[in-house]
Amino acid sequence: MKDDLTLGERLRQRGVSRRGFLKYCATTASMMALPPSMIPAIAASLEKAKRPSVIWLSFQECTGCTESLTRSHAPTVESLIFDHISLDYHHTLQAAAGDGAEHAREEAMKGNWGKYLLVVDGSIPTGENGNYSTIAGISNLAMLEEVAEGAAAIVAVGTCAAYGGLPMANPNPTGAKSVSDLVSGKPILNVPGCPPIPTVISGVLAHYLTFGTLPELDALGRPKAFYGQNIHDRCYRRPFYERGEFAETFDDEGAKKGWCLYKLGCKGPTTYNACATAKWNEGTSWPVESGHGCIGCSEPNFWDAGPFYQALSVPTGDAGNTLLSAAAAGVAAGVAVGFLNKRNKAQAAEAHEQVSADDLSKD
């Protein structure tokens, strides 16, 4: 049963003062990676925000994305956002099960046709008529088609839903596909990552709640606010890269001194995500800071793009275009240690853009 209070009204009803609301807006702005100067606009918008219905479908997934979201380190804002959205269907978080749960989903769809937000995690298997994964006897494929039809927009959370993910790894036994492989004619927002950073997921939901629209997207359908820069460009170890100070093994002097992990396979230069700034576990650390190179988990095909511990500059046999283009750009930097002039950097950026566009045409 939904009420028609706006978010502002709901907060005041719960005794949240205007200062509290301002703090809530400041946190939301930060979560959405918007500049603090936008806080007044966000406050004005949230005051009027109505309660959207959200249906979350979990398909061929490991539940890591839900785990990530429920670890989001802004509990106040989380609870307020989740109290405000009407999360009408979610396998892990809902109390209902069986027919009751499916009925709730159908009611939510009927009551909000054309207006609900559909969130998908997990890839969709298409082999064997889609029967590698079923819910209540309905294949994921059929359920996606049915629910997508009445959705205002679709958010594909996690690399599996966004690009196919680990289930798609060679030889792709279940015929796994991504949401954008299967659905057309609806705005689709990809929030990749294996899993995505929790505040990125909630930031996207907050944006939808605040503005009623999806944020600005890049060529791979990712919100630019969080995926607009690559790890390499925001990495605090970048000065070591520029000076040619690389760790050669995981326990040598360079590694202990926190030098660049490029030679140990870091995929930072070709990976777009917010790990370097937002970090993980309540801002504690992130892979590179903990001494392990980035594995590129928010990029398409990261699972078949060559060994995790082989430097980007080393071409691999069967990796295909992705790695070779990156390798062409990375050779100068990797071989001539520390030598990366502006022209090579521009080429690397260009090479990446082209690869990204090509990646969009599915094979």
Binding site: T27, S30, P36, K257
Partner: protein, 141 residues
């Protein structure tokens, strides 16, 4: 918290001076102060968006130091507002009701927004005080 806190963490050999984002940030604050002085335009910097290496953030706060004002606001958890040793430069720590850090801002302004009384509250306050005074006088008579 768990016993993990009891495990000492030693950062080996990382010279904090190497990957300092503190210095560039301090310059950004300096420019903001000039702007505030010349045009009155305030600036807010969200520290969550800055890639800090280990020890960087502490260096920044150490450099900014403490000034005359230290305030605590109780709204959706505690928010601490402190003026630094540079008047006009404030650090605002927003925490959740459970004490977790939500977001930290550096505000270059004459008075941070959290310390200013919201305008909409004023009318309500006046009405509330009037009502409370009325109740008092009826009790006394």
């Amino acid at each position: 918290m768990s016993g993990l806190d009891a495990i000492a963490v030693k950062v080996e050999g990382f010279a904090a001076g190497d990957a300092a984002n503190a210095i560039p940030l301090l310059h950004e604050i300096r420019h903001a102060l000039l702007r505030l002085a010349e045009t009155g335009e305030p600036t807010t910097i969200d520290l969550s968006a800055i890639p800090f290496g280990p020890g960087d953030r502490d260096k920044l706060f150490e450099a900014l130091g403490e000034g005359e004002v230290s305030a605590s606001v109780d709204a959706l958890g505690e928010t601490r507002v402190n003026e630094t040793r540079y008047p006009g430069v404030w650090v605002v720590h927003h925490n959740s009701p459970t004490g977790d850090e939500l977001v930290t801002h550096i505000e270059v302004t004459r008075l941070p927004s959290m310390l200013t009384t919201p305008e909409e509250d004023l009318g309500e306050a006046a009405a509330q005080l009037a009502a409370d005074l009325d109740t008092d006088s009826t009790d006394n008579s």
